[in-house]
Symmetry: C2
Subunit: 209 residues, 2 copies
DNA sequence: GTCTATACAAAGATAGAC
DNA sequence: GTCTATCTTTGTATAGAC
């Protein structure tokens, strides 16, 4: 039996991670930690345990490599809520519970993600526009449901409040730990508590006169 | 009558801004816009309309200049709430109203401030520790009042929620405008509305069973 | 595909004239 | 105090051997 070369190459790639993959993962870690501007391509090569030239061989430039990392991270950051917000089969209350819970779980695994994303978008707003042109929130079923319940208040007020209560603690984490006098363990415990607290508060807000 | 030289120099400084001052203000604008790592000293010199060498003449290095700017901005960012939080003469409800209202007013004038501060602190947490060692929130009268009203819930939960609802919209502004479909004018109007909405919600949260 | 060595550009800092 | 010119370091990208 003849085994095609392409299959052999594929098999080889499944046992040991390819150099390309190593660089992409190293780039993700370094970019996330230091941000685009403060990251040196040498840092990425070193983190990957590979030579600097490989970086330019697989990806054309620092900027191209960053674009790839950024797209993956934005998918992760916005992907947590987009499907939920557009789901027409769940109630408003259930949506709120799921959005908060899913976000907290994901952010506990990726605490640096929000500040990274929001900061890089601010310095290059094209990043976001290129990713998914507008209307991500505006046209969602979630917004429709909010408008029904509270026609007098712009639905974005509720979206901002829920996301703010959920995401902000991770953005302000260093300050909270230092000025609030809490350690890592307590921080995690509080975020777990917020999975029930924030939805409870949010539902009350929406039902208020 | 004899006018001392020192007075003349002082008078001169009141009419035209000194080079040192020009550089500090230019540095503030450029650092706030691009962040520390992405800022080039040449950008600051150009923004100030002065030569690059002056920057090193007055301040020893880019890092020193940044430290000065950072300290001023942190004073502004934390100074808005610190006095209020430690004030023992105001009620809890009044404190909440004042914190939100003061923050919104200040942030409408300095929309880039939160992301700048939080991002730079994350990349160099010494910046915050050096500024004002811990306890900024932890030992405040505000926290004491919250603990009285709701002994079962960690007071930091309320602090985080109030600050999150107030500050987060400014941190996420580019995303909100693009994905939420709102322009600058509507953004400002909504932030004004939040000066009454957020306190109303926050008070209800604290009173909940 | 992977490496070493190096070209080239950008950026921080300084010397020295005025 | 302020400028022009320049040194030095750092960082991105490429050439060329294996």
């Amino acid at each position: 039996m003849i085994i095609p070369l392409s299959s052999m190459a594929k098999a080889k790639h499944t046992i040991s991670v390819s150099a390309e993959e190593k660089i992409r993962e190293a780039a993700r870690r370094v970019f996330m930690k230091k941000g685009y501007a403060a990251t040196r391509t040498r840092d990425i090569a070193e983190e990957a345990g590979l030579n600097l030239a490989l970086l330019n061989y697989y990806f054309r430039s620092k900027e191209k490599l960053f674009g790839i990392v950024m797209e993956e991270r934005m998918k992760q950051f916005f992907g947590v809520i987009t499907p939920l917000m557009y789901d027409t089969t769940t109630t408003l209350d259930r949506k709120i519970e799921m959005i908060v819970s899913n976000y907290v779980d994901m952010l506990l695994q990726n605490p640096d993600l929000p500040l990274f994303i929001l900061n890089e978008i601010r310095h290059n707003s094209d990043l976001f526009n290129r990713f998914q042109a507008g209307r991500l929130i505006h046209g969602s079923h979630f917004v429709t449901q909010l408008k029904e319940k509270q026609p007098g208040i712009h639905p974005l007020h509720f979206v901002v409040s829920i996301l703010g209560m959920t995401i902000f603690p991770f953005v302000a984490k260093p300050v909270l730990q230092s000025a609030g006098g809490i350690n890592q363990q307590l921080f995690v415990a509080m975020m777990e508590e917020r999975k029930t607290l924030v939805p409870k508060w949010a539902k009350a807000m929406i039902k208020m006169k």
